[in-house]
Amino acid sequence: MSNPTNPKSKYSFLLKFEDYWAIWLGAIILILSMFLFFANPPANMDKIIADSNATMQAEAEKAPFKTIAWLEANDAKAGLKGTSAPLAKSVSKYFTVPGSWSDNPMKSFFLSESDAKAKSAASAEKYEKAKVATTEAKAAAVLAEKAASEASFQDTELNKEAKTKIAAWQKAKADAAKAKSAAETKPYNHFTTMIPLMIVLALLFGIGKHFMGESAKKFLVAFPVVFIVAALSFFLGGHEFAKAWGLEYVMWAIILGFLVSNTIGTPKWIMPAVQTEYYIKTGLVLLGATILINKMMIIGIPGVFVTWIVTPVVLITTFWFGQKILKIESPTLNMVISADMSVSGVSAAISAAAACRAKKEELTLAVGISITFTAIMMVVMPLMIKALGLNPVLGGAWIGGTVDSTGAVVAAGEILGPVARDVAATIKMIQNIMIGLMAFCIAAYWALKVDVDKSKADLKVSSAMREIWNRFPKFVLGFLGASIVFTLIYAGMGSDSSKVLIDNGTSSFLGSLQKWFFALAFASIGLSTNFRELGKYFKGGKPAILYVCGQSFNIALTFTMAYIMFMKVFPQITEKLMQ
């Protein structure tokens, strides 16, 4: 690395360090995405939002259940998506990752026109039947709602009948939507989008490497290999059962990298592109733009208590337990596992590891433990909640606060039912938002307390502050800055427009790109890790013990808080969610 105090230019350090390059690259991508979406809103966006809100308001005042008009207004508003704009669609397709497959592995990358037609034809009849069933179900729902309306919604039996018929119509509609997607299968060839993406990413990261004083040429030559490992990790994670088990690309990228590095050994010429931290930090700056503090209150005060009170308590207690009781040698390993288990799995592990500069083996271990336990918890927890006969809102909140990854939370919620799924996903989403603040606090704690050079303990305040600044991981500021900027934009635009242009616009668009960045990062981890080295960190099984003890505490505390909040203090919110 170059000397940051280069006299030639006072600010040259801004181009010579990885942390700053992560911020620059992230900022460029974020600015481009803002232009792409904010300049191309869907047609009649404001009118559709205003009409839908007025309809839902009027229907909510009229009937004691969600009427057909209420649900149609909700769908009209939810259907507004920034990503539907033609320009956004044509750019987004280049970020596509290899897709799902079951029996034919090629389908992950390629589907010919004839195969697409055959698939569409096979599903056409099912779709036609589903359309007829939806029309019939809607007619029945309209009649039932009319009967309830004629009784001024005062007849409990008629209201109940209307709710049942409307629910049946919703189910038929969802089935028809699934059948439609199969009946309108389009051919694809991901190779034609992955190759240009690989070139663009290689150039983007290569420019940074050049300014950092490393060989851009060597980086560009090596990058395709890391990219191929990343693409293969998406391929393996795309198998239907890998998805069902919650074994996503992160794990496969590490394993594929491991296999190369621990058999033939990663060739030296590939190493210039094995840049775990560079990819992770850039991905995290982009991730910051999706951490919107505005979403904290989405489910009201109970959601805040279940996430923002319980989670820090569990995180700090688990870290303390690891340090004082289990006496885990590495505080960074302890912190990464504690954050992973208490906050939100892999996302928290990545952020915490980058913030406290944990070793790549420590991140690998934390992610591995989390994925293993999540695969079991996401099936066992809903079955246990069903057996206990808990309220779906309580059960959902419990799952949302304890199961690690968001996808697993939605899966576990789905097993319980629609209400539990929606509550679980919302709680987890609020918890996800914590990772920005968590990363900042960990980085500050490490700079102030852990990475302290004792020989410099007697420095003056100004020198001490400079020391802290030197130790502080700068990319965290980019991560937090992106979050603050997008939170302010979200607030300024209003939640309705923001949902269209940020949630269903920039966030969705950036999400696909981030997946590539993190896949490259985890492929790099695998390619540079020796399996024997990894074993050392699992000494005495302490990491697994820490996870189990912390998760047990998390399960107990989350249940207690969710019960108090949703069943005792705010039962009216539970009632609304049950509708």
């Binding site: 594929l256 989405i298 099936v379 690690d404 996808g407």
Partner: protein
């Protein structure tokens, strides 16, 4: 040219057939684990029904952040609207 030059300068002993074979074998085993092992484990663990539901609903259970989960895009407005425009508002005097 650069790659070719790099390859040519790699010492011969780096290309050990046994190591290359073990990589190839490991990749085959990995593929078999995904395509046959995971469905088998699903049955063996008694999770078949739950996993089939996850597959049918196209949920990416491993997605580790909320923006990567497609279903969240529908769930979030549904929850927001349910709380904001709760049916029966008039009766509750809201």
């Amino acid at each position: 040219m650069y790659v070719l030059r790099e390859f040519l300068t790699i010492p011969r002993n780096r290309f050990k057939p046994s190591k290359s074979l073990s990589l190839a074998l490991s990749l085959v085993l990995l593929y078999l684990f995904v395509t046959m092992g995971l469905p088998f484990l699903s049955k063996a663990a008694g999770f078949s029904e739950e996993h089939q539901l996850i597959i049918d609903e196209k949920i990416e259970a491993g997605a580790w952040f909320y923006i990567f989960v497609e279903q969240i895009r529908d769930i979030e407005p549904r929850v927001t609207h349910s709380l904001q425009y709760s049916p029966g508002m008039e009766e509750e005097g809201q």
